[in-house]
Symmetry: C2
Subunit: 727 residues, 2 copies
């Protein structure tokens, strides 16, 4: 019984204009006919060539379906991954070209899986109870099914009844049952692993005509709708399309969301899945793109930093979204990706791109709420300038983001001039590299990468936020107090009371334009309130080579000690330390021909610690990257006001250096009557105040008088020009 | 009296086709006419725009000729540099456009220099006796003159007699006299500083019609020909066009060589300066290009690593060489540079480039002899593959190269996959960055960058070659024993007996192709012979992140000690140490998605030291880069045989990892009867010997029998397939 129409199998060909179809057939009918393929749009034609090269190479090796043995990165792991890619793409090639060799190859491979699958138990390299059958973790089995079922769909009708039954029963039905029944705990989670599982099971249900299977995928194993694919779409994204685990996982989760939604739309258009929850899936796709710089995702939480928009998940996602919306901005993303997929959507996208219909994608400042209701904090993205080297400040005031979350409440990052200037470490993991613990998360992912001190976030008493308790952390989040994307003064402000007992931390970040100084400028105001005495550490993880600092430091030139014993501190080598009685200092570094000065003032004496990651790392798992920590022992209020100033340039080719030294001579911070006033004196003598009322009323008028000088402004914050140098 | 025709002043315009000239005039006559400039070739048109933007901005600021005060990178230093660029380019703009404003600007600036120059004594920021007048070192004054005189040439005829006399006498004659008389020690050196000085003085002589000045520039201050420009051309380049200081200085010296030669050719064509010494200047230009990877110069000696073919000196050099030769390969270099110069040569080059006449530059394996007679060692360049990511192995068997030379005899480097895999530190200097000791060479340039242990060179008894005595070092050099660029097995072999008393060091590097292994592969054979007992250290400075090593090491996880006290050792942090009784080991790292394994065997026990540069660096002047040192205490012969193997790939976007582990299971080295036999066992079971006879006779037949297995080959070296795995 087959009650559902299948995805793109028939549609893709029938929807193609005749001319293109002819070209495709001619292209594939013989090698001689290949020139005719030039009428295919270049992106699609290149994809066809790429797939053909890959699948042909796999066919030349013959079908290889090994007994599962290795963890991530090992031989059997990689072979089963290559196999699911070959099944997926081989099906597409058969559908497009009609060449029997692809069908025969898939049939043979699937029959070998049919022989293997029933013999499998728990994977020998399993790390926990979430063992797969073909792979060491169940997630990979779900990925296998999502891809394989698409390939099977393209050849299933051409098989003998016996082969079909064999493969239906011993591969796909078993795999779907494994995911939805044996691993029901994963299947019923509200988590990206469950999205993969429900997508694989649901698409299998459509293919096998198993309405029950589809229903379980959509509504959860008990069909109540409390779990399952649709509930995931409700709970995993915020109303702004932000996925709580962060962009690295958002990208990953998007594939099953988009591919399964595409299948639902084709099989059950009455479900209007792309309109579900105000079009959340298409919104999520666009938000994913917004969460990137130079194509690379902001490395929140356990992110692998190599991941960019140039990734298989997003080729599929962009094509499906384009098919739904025809939004020409998506064409420019596809152009950046330089890739597409061999579907009807991919063909339409490639054709329109070749026709010059692309429009720039509107990267812009925005506030992305977190949490299913949008009430669990937010991510503020402040952009300045245009083009690939523009500036981005990110204030991460979002929630923990489940098991892959880091203890980095109110942390920030800065990109400028094409580089990550203020860094997030991402995950401590070498994905799929066997020598590094089988490619899994490394011990240092927990001991360093997740710790608060590994982030640009305030640490209290040398412990991580929520004392490093992830389950507790998931129940708490910051509150986004204010956001403004006004070009002259962008602002984000957030607060959290729960990261440490009895300590309230507020952080306000501003990106002002100040005459006489170069953009970007960042003002960072950190304020902690507590009844008790605490040790406060404010780390800044920067990228670059130290040029100078304006304080006397004791430098550890011949024995390099470690900063602490736990909570990430054990991984920090101490290069230098300085006691700053006046609580002020500045550090200048260079990166890629641009100078940056970090200038800071505390509400009392500070200790500045210059350090580097990499201590207590017996397996050389960590990257070695510099940081500065501002340390303050305070009883009551602790405040840190700092300015990150980009200035000048170094051009080695032209041997020209401009403004290698900060253009600022002094920074001063006063907290008065709930207002924050940061006063900057430039070397030119000009003086400015950045005045923050913390009152969101845009009409509210405020003024303070400091040393006889009155500073008046309206609204949440403003840059106020002061009279010349103090006399 | 003006007895000489001046350079391109008249010629450049007269040689232009009418149509182009019209376009130029139209271009500059009014803003409205700008579209017509589209008939200029794009490269030249862009250069005109760039110059116009620069000079117009300088004019907008008004003439600023400050009292000399600052060292390199400081304000007055940079302003006088900008001024000489404005003088040079302003003259070109006046010549091309005829717009009086450029002439007036130059006149005003030169009159201000005429007022300033006679008042100047030694520079207040001078570092030694080679003080300039305008700049802290005389070299910069020479650079000022070389540029300024070209600009002056373009406007001099249009000035009043009084202005002309004032500028002739109080600027150019004084500057020429300062360089050729007050600073005669520099002027009469055989050194690139003298090339700048003689070029400036000689071109001034041509302009002022001062034959005596020209003669002194060409033949030295005493006109004997023992020094001066022509003698420099004889002695500073080897017969292969290699400049003994290395490519960074070769690039720098080329500008005055080429520009002055161009002036000589135009004023005194009978001198046939471009045919001098078998066309050495044009050969030197081509050799300079050969000494680069991805456009960046091999950072031999005190090199600043940012320097590439995209540098003003080479825009000029490539254009002049193209004017002389019409070689279409130079067009592809200009295309890579994306820049040219506003001369007749630049216009012709730009026109031919736009006409599609460019041919690829033939980067190839070559041996470049060093020394004026080609007898002072050599640089061997072994290239493999094509395109920007091809592989280059460099065996630096050249001489010391004067004061900027490093103690790095028989050192090597490797580039692959677009990256520097086996590194040369270059200079410890932040050029023109004031915070870094005024942009001068840093103390660590002497204590680290020049030291032997900072290079991939054998260190004996923890001291540098020649005991770090540069003057002595300049009298000694290695002997290049053999070189082969046969594609299947490229070889370079060199020896030096004088780096350490009583120690002879021979190093043979091979780049073989071995079935079952990926390219590139490097075999490195280091052999030291001595009557006495010594401590031998063989450092390898690699780029990448450690993946694994196959030995037990003691890792300094919480206190990081320093390796030694002097000769560069004080700058090495020790990360880990291991005693290898069998004298064998392997280290694998990853760089940019590719894995590299360094596998080694010594003729006895080895100690492996994993370290990083950056200790004893109180000003944070050093880059922190990893190294491994193989340490051997030997009485008599010390030998190290190693294999550097590239393997596999990591693709984070596709999440595909291939061959992250070495494909080799064992390396074994035997020295027998003067032969070196390296035997490799691959994990596949295949076995190969790399057999080296050290006998250059290509017909010579050799054989050895090891463990009953006979290995036979002909010639200097060969790869010999052995029977399967040892049984």
């Amino acid at each position: 019984m087959r009650s559902f129409v299948l995805l793109t199998a028939a549609l893709a060909v029938s929807a193609m204009p005749q001319a293109v179809c002819a070209a495709v057939s001619q292209e594939v009918a013989s090698t001689e006919g290949r020139e005719a393929a030039s009428s295919l749009p270049p992106l699609y034609a290149a994809e066809l060539e790429r797939s053909r090269a890959f699948v042909d190479a796999m066919m030349a090796e013959g079908v290889v379906v090994p007994q599962p043995k290795d963890p991530g990165g090992g031989y059997t792991h990689e072979q089963h991954k290559r196999n699911f890619r070959a099944l997926h793409q081989g099906g597409q090639l058969y559908r497009i070209t009609g060449e029997a060799k692809y069908r025969d190859f898939l049939r043979e491979m699937l029959l070998q899986y049919a022989a293997l699958y029933p013999t499998l138990g728990e994977h020998p390299a399993k790390a926990n109870q979430y063992s797969g059958r073909l792979f060491w973790q169940v997630l990979n089995d779900a990925m296998w099914l999502v891809h394989a079922v698409q390939g099977y769909r393209d050849i299933r009708d051409t098989l003998s009844a016996a082969d079909r039954k064999r493969i239906d029963d011993d591969v796909f039905r078993r795999a779907a049952n494994f995911l939805s029944q044996d691993q029901v705990i994963t299947f019923d989670r509200i988590h990206n692993h469950a999205t993969w599982a429900t997508a694989g099971v649901g698409m299998t249900g459509y293919l096998l005509g198993d309405a029950d299977m589809v229903e379980r995928a959509l509504m959860g194993s008990d069909k109540s709708g409390k779990t399952g694919f649709l509930r995931q779409a409700d709970l995993l994204f915020s109303p702004d399309g932000y996925y709580t685990e962060g962009p690295y996982y958002q990208r990953f989760a998007l594939l099953p969301f988009m591919v399964f939604a595409d299948a639902i739309e084709r099989n059950q258009p009455e479900r209007k899945v792309f309109e579900h929850r105000d079009g959340i899936l298409l919104k999520a796709l666009r938000t994913t793109v917004q969460l990137s710089y130079q194509g690379y995702f902001f490395p929140f939480n356990d992110a692998i930093r190599d991941k960019s928009l140039r990734t298989a998940e997003l080729y599929e996602g962009v094509a499906i979204a384009y098919g739904q919306t025809g939004d020409p901005a998506l064409l420019s993303i596809a152009d950046f990706q330089g890739r597409t997929v061999l579907t009807e959507n991919g063909l339409a996208l490639s054709r329109d791109l070749a026709a010059g219909k692309a429009q720039p994608f509107d990267f812009r400042s925005m506030l992305l709420s977190d949490g299913p209701e949008g009430t669990r904090g937010a991510v503020a993205i402040l952009r300045q300038g245009e083009g690939p080297s523009h500036t981005v400040l990110i204030a991460k005031n979002s929630s923990q983001g489940m098991g892959h979350g880091h203890f980095d409440k109110l942390a920030w990052q800065l990109y400028d001039n094409g580089n990550e200037i203020v860094r997030d470490y991402g995950a401590a993991r070498f994905l799929n590299i066997e020598a590094k613990r089988g490619g899994r998360y490394l011990p240092e992912n927990t001991t360093w990468a997740k710790s608060t001190v590994a982030h640009n976030a305030l640490v209290v008493d040398e412990t991580s936020h929520f004392d490093g308790d992830a389950q507790f952390a998931d129940t708490k989040w910051p509150e986004q107090l204010y956001f403004s994307d006004a070009p002259s003064l962008q602002v984000s402000s957030g607060v959290i009371d729960s990261a440490y007992p009895g300590v309230s931390i507020k952080r306000t970040m501003l990106m002002p334009m100040i005459p006489g100084l170069e953009a970007p400028l960042v003002i960072d105001l950190v304020n902690a309130q507590s009844e008790a005495s605490h040790l406060y550490d404010l780390p800044l993880h920067y990228s670059g080579h130290i040029m100078e600092y304006d304080f006397d430091a004791s430098v550890n030139v011949d024995v390099r000690p470690v900063l602490g014993n736990d909570n990430g501190y054990q991984h920090i080598w101490v290069d230098a330390e300085a006691d700053l009685e006046a609580g002020k200092g500045a550090l200048t570094w260079i990166l890629d021909g641009r100078f940056y000065t970090y200038r800071f003032a505390g509400n009392g004496p500070l200790r500045a610690i210059l350090g580097e990651s990499g201590a207590n790392d017996p397996e050389f798992n960590l990257r070695r990257e510099p940081l500065i920590i501002l340390r303050a022992q305070r009883n009551g209020e602790a405040s840190f006001a700092s300015l990150l100033e980009a200035h000048g340039s170094y051009d080695g080719a032209a041997e020209q250096t401009l403004d290698s030294r900060s253009l600022v001579s002094d920074l001063d911070h006063v907290s008065i009557g709930g207002f924050d006033i940061v006063r900057l004196t430039l070397k030119s003598g000009q003086r400015y105040a950045i005045a923050v009322s913390h009152n969101p009323d845009p009409e509210g008028a405020h003024s303070v008088t400091l040393n006889g000088e009155t500073i008046a402004w309206t609204g949440f914050a403003s840059v106020v020009a002061l009279s010349g140098e103090d006399s």
